[in-house]
């Protein structure tokens, strides 16, 4: 009976860990990818009676595209606010702006695939903590709370690390 309970608990915790990995991994990976997103708009002639109008009326078609040139690590409005903060040096902000997107992608992949699970989760926690630092300075309490939820999930994942399965690199 006891061994049956233990088996059930282990399976539940394993699935719980897997769920956290998928959530945290996707969250970081897609957030990183979104930093390369932009819009691409093109104008096309309006069709009247099935043929292009002769007046030059156009319809603007806007689509979402990803490219390296669209990259913004720290969103522009936040960047402007951070740049006015005396506790955030310009060089640090620029460095952070450059590495945030790639870091989130690498960490997201690491957690999702289970590569050095504990280290990946810990570094992810540090990244979310660094974001929290900036948001505290510009007094965005809701953002701080939102990141706090992320930290709780990271801590839960670290606590469940011993139940980790389906990992590419179990060490660390």
């Amino acid at each position: 009976m006891a061994s049956k309970d233990k088996y059930s608990n282990d399976l539940g915790l394993t699935l719980g860990m897997l769920t956290l990995r998928i959530w945290l991994g996707c969250r970081a990976l897609l957030t990183g990818i979104e930093k390369y997103a932009g819009t691409n708009s093109s104008d096309k002639d309006v069709l009247i009676d099935g043929v292009p109008n002769s007046y030059g009326l156009t319809d603007t078609v806007t689509g979402k595209v990803y490219s390296l040139s669209n990259y913004h690590g720290v969103p522009v409005p936040l960047y402007e606010k951070f740049s006015n903060e005396p506790l955030i040096p310009t060089w640090g902000l620029n460095l952070y702006d450059s590495i945030l997107g790639p870091a989130l992608i690498i960490l997201g992949l690491g957690v999702l695939l289970g590569i050095a699970q504990r280290i990946s989760l810990f570094v992810m926690g540090l990244v979310y903590t660094s974001l929290t630092f900036g948001l505290i300075l510009i007094n965005q309490s809701s953002g701080v709370a939102w990141l706090g939820v992320h930290i709780i999930l990271v801590v839960m994942a670290l606590a469940l690390a011993k139940y980790n399965r389906f990992a590419v690199l179990k060490k660390w």
């Binding site: 104008d43 002639d45 309006v46 069709l47 009247i48 009676d49 099935g50 109008n53 007046y55 030059g56 009326l57 156009t58 319809d59 603007t60």
Partner: protein, 459 residues
Amino acid sequence: MNLKLPALSRRDFLAKSTLGAGLVLGAPSILRAKEAGAPADDIRVGFIGCGKQHEVLFNAMVNIPGIRYVAACDIMKARVGRTFSTIKSRFDTNINRYLDAEEMLEKEELDAVFVATPDFWHAPHTIMALEAGCDVYCEKMMSNTLEGARSIVAAMDRTGKLCQIGHQRRSNPRYRYTLDQLIQKEKICGQIVNINGQWNRALSSSQDIVSKPSILPDAETLRKAGFNLGADHELSLEELRHRFLNWRFYTALSGGPISDLGAHQIDIFNWYLGCQPTSLMASGGRSYFKDREHFDNVMCIFDYDTPQGNVRAFYQVLTTTSSGGGYYESFMGADGTINISEREAYTKIYKESGADSAKWDNLVSRGLLKKEAAGKAAGGADAIASYESAPPDEYALPGGLSKAPHQPHIENFLDTIRGNAKLTCDARHALESEAPIYWVNHAANTRETIHFTDEHLHT
């Protein structure tokens, strides 16, 4: 300043050459000759006036191919310098800079000149450029006086050169489409009985313009340029500079808000109806800016006799209040209303509940209109059924303009110079439309109805 004088200008060549007939016969090819390195069909452009409106025009020109920027002129050195730098950084071209328009026209080989000076200089500068053999794009109003505007038409006729007036909506695809297809061909408004137009502008956009004194022209330059016109005393340097920066506030220098803002929209009334008004009533006041010479708010009513019947057109310009929908011209008919504006956001089309739904559905299916929303009653406990009208359905134009609002008008001007188009607003047609506007301030001052005659409106 680059004031180098060409050894022999094109016009000097034509006027003064004593060369033989063989060379004269060869003149057409010389006339078309361009500076080395310039594509053969480039239009050589000069600017008279390098202030704010010049910037609007230039920003609308930068994406038009086939322009060679040659020279710019303004009595304010800093403005000419800014124009030079802008063109240099954008096109890597060094234009020649002038403080005197006459000198620029004499020394430069220009095909086209853009006049964006204060209203009271439009006619002198335009006529000067036409007589120098240039085609001219002149900002509206054509002048601060009706006589000045008429003199532009006379100069255009006399010289045979092109003169486009800056009523840029006349080349806007949205405006042209609305008139041709929706009003004239499909008659979606039915009988138009009323027009309602406005430009409501906030106080924040109506304040005095100020500038660093160190970059402004001196008193002698400003007097020479006529900024003391209409003054009843010797003006101080400070007063002259205020007039230079804020010429729109002075009756001797401009037509005031009804001319600055209203002219664009009243032009649309006349263009769309295809006729001039028969009478005018107006009222205006210095209700807020009590020390300005012009009225800060003006309301006027024009009456028209059209083949469809009588039409009344109300127009108001406010410089104190922006609420109420911004700026638009609304053509209200028995079947529908078209609220059109240079801003796409202010443009709406409404179908009256009694209009033929099948016809409007057909227009949507053919792509002539977009349906936005079904009419929605305002509701509420205070609605009294017998007072209410069924709410109109809301539609939109099928497309917009993907360029700066002034670009199509400038393109039309340049295409006409190349012989590929016809001006959409030459000086004569512009004056037909502008003439009634010159009478609004007079009607507001006298509080008398003006019944227009040929004497008032002739071109």
